[in-house]
Amino acid sequence: MAESSAAGRRVGENRLVDGVRAYRMIAAMWIRSTMAYRASFAMTTLGNFAATALDFVAILLMFSRVDALGGYALPEVAFLYGLSSVSFGLADLAIGSMDRLGRRLRDGTLDTLLVRPAPVLAQVAADRFALRRLGRVTQGALVLAYALWTVDIDWTVPKLLLMPVALVSGAGIFGAVFVAGAAFQFVAQDASEAQNAFTYGGTTLLQYPPTIFGKELVRGVTFVLPLAFVNWLPAAYVLDRPYPLGLPGWVAFTPPVVAVACGALAGLAWRAGLRTYRSTGS
């Protein structure tokens, strides 16, 4: 008993470390669960790859008729597509199953997570961890590789550095959208479709150049739901393109700041959502 309360105190020390630890343990369990059906895993991963690759096929078909889209040539659109797909794919792989929270709320199984000594956010994030989503990341990475191979970029050190930073920050921004969407499900349990509009819809939007969209939409995607920081702004810098909305050049380097801010806001939303659940139980 003395030992267990000491363990209790130790657990309380660092929620972040605890969360990551719980996340890894649960995700590993889901991977092993998936591997109980190897053939099914191989098929769904391939399916995930093929289904997401259709998005790029659509772009290829368009370019069979036109030479440029909003002033962007095929390799440049592929660059946008690759950045967006890999960022989104990483977030989707890591915590994409959070949109199943609504189901757990409806059938009451969230309670089984609440009686475990681990942060609930980490447990929900790792819930139904699906390795098949590597399919999307893989196809995004292939398109990005193709873009880097074909597009004519005047590489400099800042541009090289910006690439990994943009990918990770983009994943962070999408991750924040997933968390915020899940938090919203505490209030509206069937909101996963609305969330999909921002996540899956968002990544589709980002696969095209900002120049083909209306100013209002671009403004919304920059200042309200800052998805433009995932790829449009960093890509404008790397490709030496004019910035959407006439923004200054340095904004290309702000994605990490935006990601951290979004993450913090999403975290607050999650806490508020969980508090609502624990006071209403539904």
């Binding site: 008993m1 030992e3 267990s4 309360s5 363990a7 209790g8 105190r9 130790r10 657990v11 309380g12 719980a22 343990m25 649960i26 369990m29 092993r32 669960s33 109980a36 059906y37 059938d107 009451g108 199984t109 309670d111 089984t112 609440l114 009686v115 475990r116 000594p117 681990a118 942060p119 508090r275 624990r278 006071s279 209403t280 139980g281 539904s282």
Partner: protein, 331 residues
């Protein structure tokens, strides 16, 4: 935050519930965009204490507030009012810390990993609860032996029967040596043999380890065989708190003696308060107070009538509570 710890309560009150209430805002659609807000008191100023090592049955009809109480005791729900302590911890404020000291079994929601061998779920618990290796092994061995899980450890959970899974779930809730175990309908849907096994295990656990047990159930036999004390909740209020025998008295519940005679006969002339309530051919039904032994009645009938067979039916909890409720209403 109250961090007085266990010492503040000693062994006197391991679970302390003092005028705890839970009020839900229920919103109902009454028309297009029109909503009516209504407050529902799921738990209405309940007070009780449970000393360390007691086994308590917590019963009541569906929607009476049982689950809401358990959810507050486990830290899932935050009470709207009152004071609540488990092992000196305020559950809703220190949910994670409390989790190390309690075990919870949700009868109809397994926490085991469906597609993985049973042992894998235990290994996860081992790591998630940071159970020291030696203790984990000792506890697992004990559970495996007493719950007869040896042959099941390498079987994927989806292939287990309901009874096997329930035993698996109970073991999972005990690997970290919880001081209190909450069981929500632990025998629901189980066959007679599985029920007996689960009950025997819980009795041993309580006797040998002194684990405090709080269980909700619809099965009166669970209470009879396990609990020295029973609490009845209805419409959010504690209606009864005491020994089971007292509940029968309070509810004036009746058991039924079913007798099969050799041939059709007029209603048996039974000594009051027992009386015949139904006759159907050679079979007759007699009602008698549940607190009273059936033996004298059976002896008398056997002596005076051509008896072929007989059985005793226990009153079910719903009937007892319904009866008790009527009494209160008319009193």
């Amino acid at each position: 935050m109250d961090s007085a710890g266990d010492s503040a309560f000693g062994d006197g009150a391991f679970i302390e519930v003092d005028r705890v209430e839970k009020v839900f805002d229920v919103r109902r659609k009454t028309g297009f965009l029109k909503r009516e807000r209504r407050q529902v008191r799921a738990v209405d100023s309940i007070s009780f204490t449970v000393p360390r090592g007691e086994m308590v049955g917590y019963i009541g009809p569906n929607g009476a507030g049982k689950s809401t109480t358990i959810k507050m005791l486990t830290g899932i729900l935050t009470p709207s009012g009152g004071r609540l302590r488990v092992a000196g911890i305020d559950p809703s404020r220190e949910r994670s810390r409390l989790a190390h000291r309690i075990g919870v079994v949700f009868g109809q929601r397994t926490t085991l990993w469906w597609d993985l061998p049973l042992i894998d779920s235990y290994r996860l618990t081992h790591r998630m609860y940071r159970i020291p290796d030696a203790r984990y092994r000792a506890n697992l061995d004990r559970c495996v032996e007493l719950l007869e899980l040896g042959a099941l450890l390498d079987v994927p959970v989806r292939q287990l029967s309901l009874g096997q899974r329930m035993r698996g779930d109970i073991a999972a809730a005990l690997l970290h040596d919880p001081e209190v175990l909450y069981l929500d309908e632990p025998t629901i849907g189980l066959d007679v043999v599985s029920k007996a096994r689960v009950r025997a295990f819980l009795r041993d656990l309580n006797a040998e380890r002194g684990t405090t047990v709080l269980l909700t159930t619809h099965d009166l036999q669970d209470i009879e065989q396990l609990c020295s004390r029973v609490m009845v909740i209805d419409q959010g209020r504690l209606m009864y708190d005491g020994p089971l025998a007292g509940l029968h008295e309070a509810g004036e519940s009746e058991r039924t003696l079913v007798v099969d005679l050799e041939r059709e006969l007029p209603p048996i002339d039974a000594p009051a308060p027992a009386r015949v309530v139904r006759v159907e051919g050679p079979r007759q039904w007699l009602a008698f107070p549940a607190a009273q032994s059936a033996a004298p009645l059976v002896a008398r009938i056997a002596a005076e009538y051509p008896l072929v067979d007989l059985s005793v039916r226990e009153p079910d909890i719903e009937a007892v509570i319904a009866k008790m409720y009527e009494e209160r209403a008319t009193a």
